[in-house]
């Protein structure tokens, strides 16, 4: 049965989401347990798939038994396999985390929330694993629609933020579809490997160049690259905590994965250097995104919004790293995709716990929290160190590879921007830690209250605490084992440059 690993990874959440409303009709509280069980099995299947890929090389799975390019094919290689495990692991942590949070924020919509949650995970996994261009569009739309719904049930300004996200997200997906259409018109096929075989003869054709431009433009909207990042801060800030813990780490990373697929598997690496100056544009887009994200994050008074701008800056790291076009920078970029997914998940769990305890996520709500919730704040410190890039957390290693890569490519602007953003992260997080210990508070009244509440331990509920601790441990473990991860998985993802 596990020969069908790739399809099971998508099929399990899909079938679970179809059954979820029925289970909710029988007993509403059972949906949470059902979602946890199905995502747990999905995680096991993805681990098994990654293991098979490490042992035996690329897995190809033909859906329906039809030969590609006449049928749809699932191709799992090292990059895919890693993304599968990342997506399913974070989804499992997010669903465990979401129980208490959904109970508090969305008490009357539990059944449909978990259904749409499972559909969102299905969409993400479907995008990551497919080897067919149009199939990717279908699953991209599943993920997008589920995301719109999960975000719109948030706080006060959430529906308007979602509407703006819908408009921009649809433009992005439709640009992707135009790109696929242009490729189809010139090659007649939709299978990624088939098209990759036919395209090198067509690089001189204007249609193919336009197709590449539209594919990347569509993905740039989905990954929130400057200047089309404007939908992200509002949407992710106002979403419910459970939704932001699922969507924020994953949506941008998956779009980055698709970009790497298109640039290096669909088009040859030499296309983005010689035929179109894509790599140049990517480095500058990365630089601007990192600067913009870091500077805007400094100006925020809301913790979750600050995290959103940090997320945008992290996207800039990966785009710049891929744009540098050398082996070391590419390895750093792929490792950074893994690291950033885990880091963002960790930081958003903290934001959700603060929301659960105090009802809002402004920076001023952190006052005195370090004394009341020591475990949560310890996890926060680990996440902060990872974003800053302090060993042995994983953030240090990916930044190290990116710095090394930019030195090899002699791109000093990118290097300076990398170091500058680390400095800005230090300022941002130490400000939060300062407020957390109560040093930054100027009103005398608060000092009195803080001393009284200091005695009472008010830790987060267990369902929310366990994912937080797991993520913090993962950050340290990925950092310690980064050489293993690099040698077994990431080294094989580097295309021959």
């Amino acid at each position: 049965m596990l020969d069908h690993g790739p399809v099971l990874a998508v099929g399990i959440p899909l079938m679970a989401s179809f059954l979820c409303p029925l289970i909710g009709w029988w007993r509403k509280r059972a949906c949470y347990a059902w979602a946890i069980i199905s995502l747990f099995f999905c995680f096991l299947v993805s681990l098994h798939t990654l293991h098979s890929v490490i042992q035996g090389g690329t897995i190809r799975y033909r859906l329906g038994g039809w030969m590609p390019p006449f049928g749809i094919e699932y191709v799992v290689d090292h990059l895919n396999g890693m993304m599968l495990v990342v997506v399913s692991a974070i989804s499992l942590l997010a669903v465990v985390y979401s129980g208490k949070s959904v109970e508090q924020e969305l008490p009357d919509r539990r059944v449909y929330f978990f259904t749409v949650f499972l559909l969102q995970v299905t969409g993400f996994l479907g995008i990551v694993i497919t080897g067919d261009l149009f199939n990717l569009y279908v699953f991209l739309e599943i993920a997008s629609l589920a995301g719109y719904a999960l975000i719109a049930v948030g706080e006060d300004g959430a529906p308007l933020a979602t509407f703006r996200y819908i408009v921009m997200g649809t433009v992005g997906a439709c640009f992707y579809l135009i790109g696929v259409g242009y490729i189809y018109v010139n090659t007649g096929s939709l299978n990624m490997e088939d098209v990759a075989g036919m395209l090198p003869n067509l690089y001189h054709s204007r249609v193919v160049v336009t197709a590449a431009a539209f594919l990347l433009a569509g993905l740039a909207v989905k990954m929130a690259l400057f200047p089309v990042h404007t939908w992200l801060p509002d949407a992710y800030t106002k979403a419910p905590s459970a939704s932001s813990m699922l969507i924020a780490p994953l949506m941008t990373k998956i779009s980055l994965y698709v970009m790497i697929r298109i640039l290096y598997s669909l088009f040859e690496p030499r296309f983005s250097v010689t035929v179109l100056p894509i790599t140049e544009i990517m480095i500058w887009a990365g630089v601007v995104t990192i600067l913009g994200g870091a500077l805007m994050a400094l100006a925020q008074v809301d913790f979750k919004r600050m995290l959103c701008y940090i997320l945008i800056a992290e996207v800039g790291y990966v785009v710049g790293g891929v744009g540098l076009a050398n082996d070391t920078a590419f390895k750093g970029a792929v490792l950074h995709i893994l690291n950033d997914a885990v880091m963002t998940a960790g930081l958003f769990t903290i934001a959700g716990i603060v929301m659960f305890k105090t009802g809002s996520h402004r920076l001023s709500d952190f006052t005195g929290l370090f004394r009341k919730m020591p475990v949560t704040m310890a996890a926060f410190v680990v996440g902060a160190l990872s974003v800053i890039g302090v060993p042995p957390t994983c953030g240090f290693f990916s930044k190290w590879y990116l710095v090394h890569g930019s030195i090899i490519a002699k791109h000093w602007t990118f290097l300076i921007v990398l170091l500058f953003s680390s400095l800005v992260s230090v300022i941002l997080f130490f400000r939060v830690i300062e407020i957390g210990y109560g040093f930054g508070v100027s009103h005398g009244v608060h000092h009195g209250d803080g001393d009284e509440r200091k005695i009472r331990f008010d830790e987060a509920p267990l369902g929310m605490l366990i994912p937080t601790i797991v993520v913090a441990l993962a950050l340290i473990l990925i950092g310690l084992y980064n050489q293993t991860i690099l040698s077994k998985i990431i080294d094989f993802t580097v295309p021959g440059l």
């Binding site: 899909l14 989401s17 179809f18 409303p21 007993r27 509403k28 509280r29 859906l63 329906g64 039809w66 390019p69 006449f70 049928g71 749809i72 008490p107 009357d108 919509r109 539990r110 449909y112 929330f113 259904t115 749409v116 559909l119 299905t122 969409g123 479907g126 149009f134 199939n135 279908v138 699953f139 739309e141 599943i142 629609l145 589920a146 719109y148 719904a149 999960l150 719109a152 049930v153 135009i178 242009y182 189809y184 018109v185 010139n186 090659t187 007649g188 096929s189 939709l190 054709s205 204007r206 249609v207 160049v209 336009t210 197709a211 431009a213 539209f214």
Partner: protein, 96 residues
């Protein structure tokens, strides 16, 4: 805002018009789109799937997985609308 939108629109249209310069002519029977994968569907549809309607055989058999995805999209939209628009009865019975 209006001027940036207009400039962006002109840019997108210009890139599209540039790209459409050497696209295969409309209705060209020798275009790659009609000559690579589609002849297989037309020739083998009855043999593989016993369906004379080639669109159906591609939709339901060769690319049936896309149709499953499409069904899931409809289901997602339905669940999304339920999630978004469900009205809460104030003072209704507690949900267990």
């Amino acid at each position: 805002m209006k001027t940036t939108s207009f400039v962006l629109l002109v840019l997108v249209v210009a890139v599209l018009m540039y790209g459409t310069a050497d696209i295969p002519k409309w209705g060209d029977p020798n275009a790659p789109a009609s000559n690579h994968v589609s002849p297989y569907y037309l020739r083998h549809s009855i043999e593989d799937t016993a369906t004379p309607n080639v669109v159906t055989s591609v939709l339901a058999d060769y690319r049936g997985y896309d149709t499953l995805g499409e069904t899931t999209v409809v289901f997602t939209a339905g669940m999304a609308c339920l999630l978004l628009l469900k009205r809460v009865k104030s003072g209704g019975k507690d949900d267990v």
